[in-house]
């Protein structure tokens, strides 16, 4: 594709475009997005943190062992497990999804990197987050909650 390389043309167009909006596409109000973010993303993030914690512990891995196996930075893994406000890097979520054999896109939704309109997905995330409490060793219930949620993520 040969693009126009005239300096004059480009400068003229840039001057004319200055201050214009150019958006095309289906839009929603930015404020509504803010409200949706506050109500939807946090429960997902809570489920994401719990999911990573339990998945690691189910494999009897310490944080640094898990970081090494997944090939992610230990500091980032610590942030993921300890700070629910933290948004992980896409690569990190990709690596975790690959290691845990979980569909990447689903995990990205949980991590707050993607948004979906899916009431069932949100309900399942909330249920999982609510049914899992961090303890030293996974209880049968935690194992069951984890396995059920893994199945849900994989079956969709």
């Amino acid at each position: 594709m040969n693009m126009n390389n005239s300096r004059k043309w480009l400068i003229d167009k840039a001057e004319q475009e200055d201050g214009c909006l150019v958006s095309v596409g289906g839009f929603v109000d930015a404020l509504e997005q803010t409200e949706q973010t506050s109500s939807n993303v946090i429960p997902f993030k809570h489920a994401f943190v719990r999911f990573v914690q339990l998945a690691r512990r189910a494999r009897k891995l310490t944080l640094d062992q898990f970081a090494e196996k997944v090939d992610v930075d230990l500091v980032e893994l610590l942030k993921i497990e300890k700070d629910e406000q933290y948004t992980p890097a896409m690569r990190t979520v990709h690596q975790i999804a690959e290691f845990l054999k979980i569909p990447e896109k689903r995990l990205m939704v949980l991590a707050g990197l993607l948004r979906v309109k899916d009431a069932q997905f949100q309900k399942a995330a909330l249920k999982f987050a609510a049914s899992s409490e961090p303890v030293e060793k996974l209880s049968q219930e935690e194992h069951a909650a984890l396995e059920e949620y893994v199945k849900f993520l994989c079956d969709r």
Binding site: M1, N2, M3, N4, N5, S6, R7, K8, W9, L10, I11, D12, K13, A14, E15, Q16, E17, D18, G19, C20, L21, V22, S23, V24, G25, G26, F27, V28, D29, A30, L31, Q33, T34, T37, T87, M90, K105, M108, L113, L114, R115, V116, K117
Partner: protein, 210 residues
């Protein structure tokens, strides 16, 4: 396709090396969501706090991820992106099947349809002002529309191109690009159908070029 292009630095009006590409992946959409959305929301908040009318607040796109990702695999759709030093500055989705002209003289003739076009929020003056910042680059919209017209030419559509403009963007498509305002489309929330005839597209590509 990857093509070196130039865009314009907002503050100094210097030309800046950039890259136009059509190998857009889901990663680009993820990057756009992660990097662009917080800036838009912060600007909207500032505008509200400053007492802006709700209607005057710029709107942000609604991401339907499942359909966007599926779209990436459909040959009839092209996605274009512009980067400067690997940082995404704009995205466009172009459809080349199923659309035809609505201007009387072009009725029934195939055209390229811009389904989606957006620039990064840091290139939008209206969004940067409330944050006390200057925009970074100019001419992202111009370059994306140019790419759309050139793809239309490659497809044999003679530069015919159309889109449904959001109300805030009409000035750009009508006055800057020189498209024809054909009419409001009740099937698309009464958005304005803007269309390039081959002659208008040619004029857009070459007017003032030296």
């Amino acid at each position: 396709m990857r093509a070196p292009i130039q865009i314009v630095k907002w503050a100094t009006k210097e030309l800046v090396e950039a890259e136009l590409f059509d190998e857009v992946t889901i990663e680009h959409f993820l990057e756009a969501q992660k990097e662009w959305r917080p800036v838009v929301i912060a600007a909207a908040r500032q505008m509200v706090q400053a007492g802006a009318n709700r209607e005057s607040i710029p709107r942000h796109w609604h991401w339907d991820w499942s359909s966007k990702e599926a779209d990436l695999r459909i040959l009839a759709f092209s996605f274009f992106g512009i980067t400067v030093q690997d940082k995404l500055q704009g995205l466009m989705k172009l459809e080349t099947v199923g659309w035809s002209g609505r201007i009387a003289s072009q009725k029934g003739k195939p055209l390229a349809y811009v389904d989606y076009l957006e620039t990064a929020p840091w290139n939008i003056k209206l969004l940067m002002q409330p944050l006390g910042r200057s925009p970074e680059f100019r001419a992202i919209g111009t370059r994306l529309i140019e790419a759309g017209v050139r793809r239309s030419l490659e497809e044999g559509f003679k530069g015919r191109l159309a889109l449904h403009s959001l109300s805030g963007s009409e000035r750009f498509y009508l006055d800057v690009c020189g498209m024809t305002a054909v009419g409001r489309d009740p099937a698309k929330q009464d958005l304005l159908w803007c269309e390039f005839t081959p002659g208008q597209a040619e004029k857009f590509l070459n007017e003032g070029a030296a």
